[in-house]
Symmetry: C2
Subunit: 133 residues, 2 copies
């Protein structure tokens, strides 16, 4: 239940927070910008401010409930952090986002970082693709 998630994160259970969580859980698209979430809520008759959506998403991110992706195109997109690590593929024609995970790439990345005397804290891999003709 979402209320627990919020409490566990030290956040009071408020209407805007529940609404945003619910949109992220039940919307057909898994990856949404703050603005998209905001509009979805307005359209379903909810009253809240865009600033609140941003604030709530930032708190959720810090709490580990959602993750933020900076794809090309200005707006960050958020997704529920209910899955294990994965990377993304963005279709340049439809905007569709596909998630994928490949352990071999993960291993190679660690190997490369190590070769330079580093260890990986975080990484970002995005493929911008087009349907193959």
């Amino acid at each position: 239940m979402e209320r627990q998630d919020l409490r566990k994160a030290g956040l009071k259970v408020t209407s805007p927070r529940l609404k945003v969580l619910q949109i992220l859980e039940h919307s057909q698209q898994r990856h949404m910008s703050a603005e998209t979430i905001y509009r979805a809520l307005l359209d379903s008759g909810e009253e809240l401010g865009l600033a609140t959506v941003y604030r709530v998403l930032t708190q959720f991110e810090r709490a580990g409930l959602v993750s933020r992706n900076n794809f090309e195109g200005g707006q960050a997109v958020f997704e529920l952090a209910d899955r294990t690590h994965h990377d993304h593929m963005v279709c340049l024609e439809t905007g569709k986002v596909t998630e994928f995970f490949d352990e071999r790439i993960e291993v190679l990345q660690r190997e490369i970082a190590e070769k330079y005397g580093y260890s990986i804290e975080d990484h970002s891999l995005v493929l911008y693709v087009r349907p193959k003709k």
Copy 2:
């Protein structure tokens, strides 16, 4: 010679364009934001506007003379497009940017895109790392 590069790109040879190219060629850091380039030029006594730096960089990018990287932290960084394709590693402690290339990762990426019926148009791989203790 830089003047040729500019002409070839259909750009008039102007002072701001030459200056920006020279900074990119001769600065100790290879990856610079528009603002950093702008400051470097001001500091060396050149007169030009920040808007011009942005305009010039965008034109250079379109002409294939520089490439733009969107690392975390708001500002895009530019580098001379004088090398073959490579990816980046950014040290979270020093900000140092290291370039690397691994054909195995490239192959895996193509393989994955293909599995989903796509072909890769572009991709972005950035490792955020820390010195290994």
